[in-house]
């Protein structure tokens, strides 16, 4: 009875089109942001920040990018890891070859490079779809894996293909302690998620969804499939590239191509499916789920006094993820996001059953 919309009449279209039209939602989001920006840095341990929150945020951002491509525009991509790699390596190259360049510029330029590569590998989507497009994106994944491993130019001729970043500064402030890194990443995630949400609820988002749902009809109302698909690849790759740069710079510190391999691509796809295809907030749910399951699988048995060997944990993880993918695809293709909104619907009429 506290989640009622009684008395909340919208008197303008602007009010109706807010991202969070219900007052209680707006309050909840403000509280969440306050916790994220103020509460967490004050209270969270270093371990929580480094091992859980920072990876969660960066992977959520990548999942938002992938969701735009797969969930909103309906183009399958199995090469997301590769686009993250492009973002990371490009940003590193800019930083190494132009020592004075600010961190923000390095990361954004990394995103731009990922955009170029993403659009290039997105061109096949104009002629092929479904499984065949998946194969094209796999080609991107394997080719880019190889490129960063074997073309010495990209790693500035380092012998192992391993690159690392120095101590980071943004606008003169250090980005080195766990809390500083967390806030830096949080800012990126909030800003980019907001922009992504604006895009998907505007004209471009409608174009993407039209192409996803029925591209012939889309052409008839004047939508150009080429423009829609390539912008989807472009925006998605940009966000994924930025996430890749953040992953390398902030979370890993030093990395090799393996950090962005095919299993990373699958991991992101799973986040998007479990969290909800076509839902920005669903990307966050999916990322949270995928980040927390391994933590739970190793933590709970240890807490119960029966620690499990690492490889067994990995196998159980695979089983759990696989089973959940199948479950969600059968029972609720719109994933956790839909389950959450069903839950909210029930909450709106609580304590009545219907």
């Amino acid at each position: 009875m506290f989640y009622r919309e009684n008395g909340q009449f919208k008197t303008s279209y602007a009010a109706d089109q807010q991202i969070f039209p219900i007052l209680q939602d707006r309050v909840a989001i403000l509280i969440l942001l306050a916790i994220a920006f103020i509460g967490v840095p004050m209270l969270a341990s270093d371990y929580l920040l480094r091992a859980i929150l920072i990876p969660f945020l960066i992977l959520s951002l990548a999942a938002v990018g992938l969701n735009i491509l797969v969930g909103y525009c309906g183009q399958i991509s199995l090469g997301t890891g590769a686009f993250m790699a492009v973002g990371a390596y490009a940003a590193w190259n800019f930083g190494t070859r132009f020592p004075g360049m600010p961190l923000l510029a390095q990361i954004l330029l990394g995103g731009v490079c990922a955009t170029v590569v993403g659009v290039a590998f997105g061109i096949p989507s104009l002629r092929i779809r479904g499984l065949y497009l998946a194969v094209a994106t796999l080609a991107a994944q394997f080719f880019i894996d190889w490129a960063f491993l074997r073309i010495p130019f990209f790693t500035n001729y380092s012998s192992s293909g391993n690159v690392s970043v120095p101590a980071l500064f943004a606008f003169g402030l250090p980005v080195q302690s766990a809390m500083q890194k967390y806030l830096f990443v949080l800012l990126f995630v909030v800003v980019f998620s907001l922009m992504a949400k604006n895009l998907v609820r505007g004209a471009l988002g409608r174009q993407w969804m039209a192409i996803r749902d029925m591209d012939v009809a889309a052409a008839v109302i004047g939508i150009r499939p080429m423009y829609a698909k390539l912008t989807a690849f472009a925006v998605s790759s940009f966000i994924v590239g930025v996430a890749g740069a953040l992953w390398g710079f902030i979370h890993l510190g030093s990395w090799e191509p393996l950090a962005f391999d095919l299993s990373r691509s699958f991991q992101l796809l799973f986040m998007v499916i479990i969290g909800g295809l076509g839902s920005i907030v669903g990307s966050f749910y999916g990322a949270a789920f995928i980040v927390l399951v391994p933590v739970a699988l190793s933590g709970i048995p240890r807490w119960l006094g029966l620690p499990l060997p690492v490889d067994l944990i990995v196998h159980i993880e695979h089983m759990v993820f696989g089973a959940l993918i199948v479950f969600f695809l059968i029972a609720e293709p719109h994933g956790l996001a839909r389950l959450w909104s069903i839950g909210r619907e029930k909450l709106r009429i609580w304590p009545f059953p219907h």
Partner: protein
């Protein structure tokens, strides 16, 4: 029921002229040497038995199919090849026999998608949304809400179209076409699968669109009552050929047409 004289007065010059259109798929001849014209502000019906090529004709008009022979003259410009996008830009909108709605989107979003050609905000402006992009969105929302009012589907604006009953989905299809502010509206069996009440509603909508906005309407329809009632002129197709063309009364009396519909062996 005779056409009101005010309707006849409003009918203008030829805006769509199809010249010797022939269309074949492999060995199947869908259309053979079809020529007819459509005048501005009129309601032109295309009728004929199943498989006569009526939908193919509409597909040729808005560029989904390219005919092997023939040309299209639209708003005075001659076209050898038409594409769906060019047709849309030149003010041709259409609905589909099997409903081509965007099932994953709400009613509002489906109809807003029809405003696509008129929305000009850049990608960056849309990402930031404050200012020009937001204003443009509101402006088009206003227009679309008028269409929603006109079609009496206000209660369903946020519902995903996949969940609506068939009759309402047909209205959304019409709404999306209307959102394009078309000069020519192609309707492919808008009343298929409807009961009498729904047909009366749809007929009213079609007549209102023609009256209030002056939109030229080309419609494929099987219900003879509707065709005779609302159309100004009729084209009859059979096996891809034109067998009748003129006012409804004249066409109804045409022997060839009667034979085609009653199925005498050819």
């Amino acid at each position: 029921m005779t056409q009101s004289t005010s309707r006849n007065d409003r009918i203008g010059e030829v805006i769509l002229d199809l010249q010797h259109i022939s269309l074949a798929f492999g060995g199947v001849k869908a259309l053979t040497d079809i020529s007819f014209d459509v005048r501005e502000h009129e309601i032109r019906a295309i009728i004929g038995p199943n498989g006569a090529g009526k939908s193919s004709m509409l597909n040729v008009i808005n560029g989904v199919y390219t005919p092997q022979q023939g040309e299209i003259r639209l708003h005075g410009e001659q076209f050898r090849r038409m594409t769906p996008r060019r047709a849309a830009e030149m003010g041709v909108a259409r609905t589909f026999q099997n409903l081509a709605l965007f099932k994953g989107m709400s009613v509002l979003d489906n109809i807003m998608a029809g405003r696509n050609l008129r929305m000009t905000s850049s990608l960056f402006a849309q990402a930031i949304r404050l200012g020009p992009a937001a204003r443009e969105e509101m402006q088009h929302r206003q227009f679309v809400e008028n269409i929603i009012d006109f079609l009496e589907i206000q209660a369903f604006r946020k519902t995903p179209v996949g969940r609506l009953p068939y009759g309402l989905q047909k209205r959304v299809d019409l709404g999306r076409a209307l959102a394009m502010e078309p000069r020519i509206l192609l309707l492919d069996e808008p009343m298929a699968g409807m009961n009498i009440e729904e047909k009366q509603d749809m007929s009213r909508f079609i007549l209102d669109v023609n009256d209030e906005f002056g939109t030229t309407i080309v419609l494929i329809e099987h219900d003879m009552g509707v065709v005779m009632d609302i159309s100004d002129r009729v084209v009859v197709l059979d096996y891809g050929k034109k067998i009748g063309d003129g006012e409804p009364e004249a066409v109804r009396a045409n022997e060839d047409v009667v034979r085609a519909y009653l199925g005498v062996a050819h």
